[in-house]
């Protein structure tokens, strides 16, 4: 499975599939961005949340409540 995934993701760099590209961009944008001060405070205040839930969803929820 690992070899197959390596090859498919490598081929994606050559022959882009838009659905797959969207998923990749969503993940890369999320994990590559800098957290804001507010998000950092939120992370510090909820140390356990990563083990059980998605930080991404919780940050979005906090932003929506603002």
């Amino acid at each position: 499975m690992e070899d197959k995934l390596k090859l498919l993701f490598d081929y994606q760099r050559f022959e882009k599939n838009q659905s797959l590209e969207n998923l990749i961009q969503e993940t890369e944008n999320y994990y590559d961005r800098e957290l804001s001060d507010e998000e950092m405070k939120f992370v510090a205040a909820a140390g356990e949340l990563n083990a059980n839930g998605r930080l991404r969803d919780k940050i979005i929820n906090v932003k929506n409540k603002k």
């Binding site: 690992e2 197959k4 390596k6 050559f14 659905s19």
Partner: protein, 163 residues
């Protein structure tokens, strides 16, 4: 299969950006990427008459030449840089795996995973992050990342091999 000069020109027009984009995404050096792209097309034209469309699509065939050219480049520079972990150096399965349909199937399969499982697969196999780096980014333990990765493998194996 015999190609006319016009067909060869069309291949160049249709694939230059794909080949260059692929190579520059791997080595991040525009000048070297241009040189290697030229090398790829020299090889394509040298071998084009041996291309067999019953064995692989033209896209897969040119991709394989581009990948082999990169493999040679990495090997020639082994002293200076390591081959990236995500690079499929010795693959013999590209003809059955590398086609547009398989990329669509992978996208569909990834969408059925839980978000964190999907993120781990993408960060590891596309972005080239180690499991340790992924654990740090996600704020979870290395062991837990491995557990999630293995769960994702099991699901993907069923989804991709049942197609």
């Amino acid at each position: 299969m015999v190609f006319t000069d016009q067909q060869k020109e069309e291949i160049y027009q249709n694939y230059y950006r794909k080949v260059y984009g692929y190579i520059v995404s791997k080595i991040n050096d525009a000048d070297t990427a241009e040189d290697l792209t030229s090398t790829v097309f020299v090889k394509v034209y040298e071998k084009i008459d041996s291309f067999d469309e019953t064995k692989a699509s033209l896209s897969t065939w040119i991709y394989t030449i581009a990948r082999n050219t990169l493999t040679d480049y990495y090997r020639s520079r082994r002293v200076f840089e390591e081959i990236p972990e995500t690079f499929p150096e010795n693959s013999s399965v590209e003809e059955e795996v590398c086609n547009k349909e398989m990329l669509e199937q992978l996208a569909e399969a990834l969408q059925t995973l839980e978000e964190r499982e999907r993120d781990i697969i993408i960060l590891r196999f596309y972005s080239g992050k180690s499991l340790k780096e992924i654990a740090e980014k996600m704020g979870i333990s290395y062991s837990y990342v491995k557990i999630l990765q293995n769960k994702a493998f099991d699901k993907l194996k069923k989804l991709l091999e049942n197609e």
